[in-house]
Symmetry: D2
Subunit: 347 residues, 4 copies
């Protein structure tokens, strides 16, 4: 069956597998102290134009979010996110498990509004009983968001200005960062992100790696003893090479960006094909996740031949469905999707 | 440089890399719902003679220990381990981070004494103020232990009898389980472990995998919603295939046991070579970790050509040093080690 | 200065102080094992018509909420409350500190809507990815609410029916329970609450005691080892008599209800006096907390002579202000308040 | 029955009850912002000769320990205590519940040895894998200890020198501090403690109060937002007067020290009477807790007329039993105890 449900359906980009094979018998120290990790870090520092960046490799997204957030927050602090933020919905309460509240502000197509954020923080500090409340201790945003949307550079600058004003760190969740950076309608570069955020991560799992996220503290500002904190969270990888080799490969010859660009081109193509056939877009996503409104009966028929991700009800007779492309999607796969869809229409 | 410091110096057994390459473009659902995970589970059930076993794949050892232990314990309970247990020393307080005390009993070459365990539990329940104390809620043992030693079947049966009597689960940490099962001087089989423990894990990271531990609940007795618990701990792997493909390979044609046996043969050979040269063994380890007493000056000289793991001081002029073999060690490497040692002696 | 800011401005009802004096030199065992605690429990069981009730005395409200909630929830569960619930706003994240999410539904004058609760729970269980989400594990409601409002018996029955259907406990926060039960416009009795809730507490601190809340598990359904859990939370009182003597006094000759009734009569009088003078009620509270809309300039002037609690802005020129009566309020104090208010008007 | 089991058998010193009665109808702000709290703090600052001290009143000992310890420690840190420390044995894992390990060193009649502490800390920092371990982040000592013993000034200075050298705070648990300070064989003053410790608390519950502990940060060095932290731990008292009035009374006219001295005199008398009759002391306690070795049969007989605290077995035929005096003990009560004992002997 043809699957478009998400962007982690295949293994790893072949260059990564080749690197595993090539380096396999090399004896290397554990816990991230090997030269592949070092090399990967150096390449990421260059890509980010952040020579002082401290970088750690963790295995997955939820793990990264809860480890970073807990490392930053004092016990009496929580993290501010939009209601639809991944940490607030789909991480099984991993942040709360570490003792911290996820404090929510409204979402706008998955994005946080800088003015609303400022109002939220001002309200807290002006509240005469704020000492009985959770202190907002950092801000979490997703880029791309859970709806595939992107912040503009101006929006990121505005959010960053707010967090600077309130002296709390800005953390950017980048599980799909590559797809955001390579969107055809973004003005945000990875250097912008390194400049504007206190911490962000470069998602590997969904952008060509078997697993792995590169956590970047761009100003050499990692929380004290972050290594021990990752150990305490069960987030330290014994064979650090597993992550080092992958990120070293991804940041060699711009591979990370190349494969993201490929996925974006196919997502744009997929979107155009849906639009051409008169389908409604739930929202106009500029990245690799496309949210299409399908008539329920058609959605059911399609299920037998194509794997998609059911998102949410749209109205009585329609639903929102996600189709994602990835580094592994081919033009042939998209064409096959529409040949199936067109076939259903005729039948 | 020649490294014997630990058993996670190389990548993965080549059969695993081949399986990655072979299956790479196959589209598979995430989170462990793919057929490689299913196949691996079925093979493990067979190997354990435990048809009802529930099996989960996690990425690393500390993660597995803290997730399993937290999943089992009520808030008012702690886990009983020997003082040298990995969870008590080298996991950065990961268990306590989940809110639970590690309660210690003495160690004997890394092992727990069943009688001392029983006395510990009896003392708690007989204490008139035990309601003000942490309840012992499970028992954690390592096999092999952190000193490479092994329980006999009789010892495991005695410990299991105690935990059954007190109705608390017995959890066996098996990061190096393969090397324990394939020791030339053990009477414990994986079926024994499945029969006697409430939970154990089959270590992959140190026995041929890039990463991964297979957690086995042999009587279909996984804690309720264990999947959600792994997510909450950041221990769920998006691309479940990463672990499924590896364990499916390791449990095909007895690969797991074959590679463990190879490491044991070389460890026995390494030990014999040390003994032949008059070195003192710190203890007589029957597994892949060998603890040798070295004269300090020699230890320093050796450091320039061989990577070993400094363990602890022995006396004023000697130290205990660990040499480990693994699935990747070759006879040539051991021979080279002794040619270096003999060379130092002559010099 | 005349204070109406809250209902914990004075010490304790004099009958309690007398009981302290009377019993002071009596030697009693600690930790709640004294006969005053026993007697208080028996009287509460009678008042609740709940002969099997298990009862524990804790010192304060936040402590009680976080201890009870953590005792009930599995690690992967959270507690459902309205957005304005005390646990969600004014307890400094005490629930999250124990590792659990507070999951919110909308509030209606501080109350939870049974239909919205049911919809929330149904949505969770119907969500195909609910295993990646926090499980709703109990429901928390306040009676009176943080806005002084009350559930009707029919509403409580409807909420209870929902929690029974989903087999999760219903917990009622009763810091001001007395004032709710003695409102002139309620049809809810303490027996109703004991019948419909799985746990609730009878607030003492705000209803005549120096401190203390009586936690009632009306069906003998206290979480296992709840005593040890209170100890672990730092919520066990060494001199249990401190709480036992107070609740024994409060539940002798209906004192608890008598003093609550007195506060309600004065709150009704205070409300009527405000209304008579043309003030707007923010909402029509039937209990001892009255929320009045004041013109900002008047509010500022009043501050010099009367202590009230600023609640929230109403519009550009008005604010919502809380005036609370308590067991200690007298008619003279209310009269003095209005003589001050009338004086300001004239000036 | 005559009870000597502990020092919290009676209510409160009568001066406290009188103060409650006297101040009862005074309207006071909550949460410790009343003038009795202020006055009590000022008196304690004077008593400690610590004009910059920040002082907080909490309700009980376990609560105070876990709140203070959690407030000080970073997530990756634990607290060092002797094996018999109250936090390690009799607080139901309250410290671990906040996520931190209790790290133990040996006890010597309940005391920590400064040299052993230094060795423990040195070993940690010298361990090449200490980044995989829990960092020792503070030191906890009890004065008097759980065995009634006392540190000398020289010992406290030595421990303080070690914690200064390693730049970690020294916290002194003082549930029975008064009895320690008023021992006839101590050279430690409260000013010494304020000078040498980073935090300590002055126990009220066991020294004349109904409840309450005064936490002192003698150098104005309270952890940031400690007030919010107490709220988060459920350790903030709504009617702060409950604690303020008590400590204001206890620190007026040296009452705290007077009542402690009285208890010490009676403890010395009780000890002398036991010794006179040939009883063996388990250890020579200089404070209000006396540990006597009783023959088991006599212990059983005595139980019918006298409440004592069984401590631990001594040998096959004897047990260690605790007799405690308190602010409420009278000479008549001690005389009655020995008249019962002598009566049993004759029978």
């Amino acid at each position: 069956m043809l699957l478009f449900a998400c962007d982690y359906l295949e293994g790893a980009h072949e260059a990564i597998l080749e690197a595993f094979v090539r380096t396999n018998r090399e004896q290397l120290p554990g816990y991230g102290n090997d030269h592949y990790c070092e090399s990967a870090k150096e390449k990421i520092r260059k890509a980010c134009d952040a020579p002082d960046a401290e970088i750690y490799f963790l295995a997955g997204g939820t793990q990264t979010n809860s480890t970073v957030i807990a490392a930053y927050l004092a016990a009496y602090e929580g993290v501010v996110a939009v209601e639809t933020g991944h940490i607030n919905v789909h991480e099984a309460g991993a942040v709360e498990y570490t003792g911290h509240k996820v404090m929510t502000v409204p979402q706008h197509q998955g994005k946080m509004c800088p003015q609303e954020l400022e109002a939220f923080l001002a309200k807290f500090w002006n509240d005469p009983s704020h000492e009985h409340m959770v202190f907002p201790g950092m801000v979490y945003i997703s880029h791309p968001t859970e709806y595939g949307t992107l912040y503009t550079r101006a929006e990121l600058e505005a959010i960053s200005a707010v967090t600077n004003k309130y002296q709390i760190p800005l953390f950017l969740y980048g599980a799909r960062l590559g797809y955001g950076l390579c969107s055809s309608s973004t003005d945000v570069t990875i250097q912008d992100i390194a400049r504007l955020c206190d911490c962000f991560y470069i998602g590997g799992t969904k952008v060509g790696a078997l697993c792995g996220e590169a956590v970047v503290f761009p100003k050499g500002n990692a929380p004290k003893h972050f290594l021990t904190i990752t150990k305490q969270h069960g987030a330290m990888t014994a064979k650090g090479r597993l992550l080092g080799v992958q990120f070293d490969t991804l940041f060699t010859d711009d591979l990370y960006f190349k494969i993201a660009r490929g996925a974006i081109e196919l997502a744009d193509y997929l979107k155009a094909e849906f639009v051409k056939r008169g389908y409604k877009l739930y929202l106009d996503s500029p990245t690799n996740q496309q949210f299409i409104v399908l008539e329920n009966a058609e959605m059911e028929q399609l299920k037998e031949q194509v794997g998609y991700e059911y998102w949410e009800p749209y109205d009585e007779t329609h639903s929102v469905v996600r189709f994602a492309t990835s580094w592994a999607t081919t033009r042939e796969m998209v064409d096959e999707l529409f040949s199936i869809i067109d076939g259903l229409k005729k039948a």
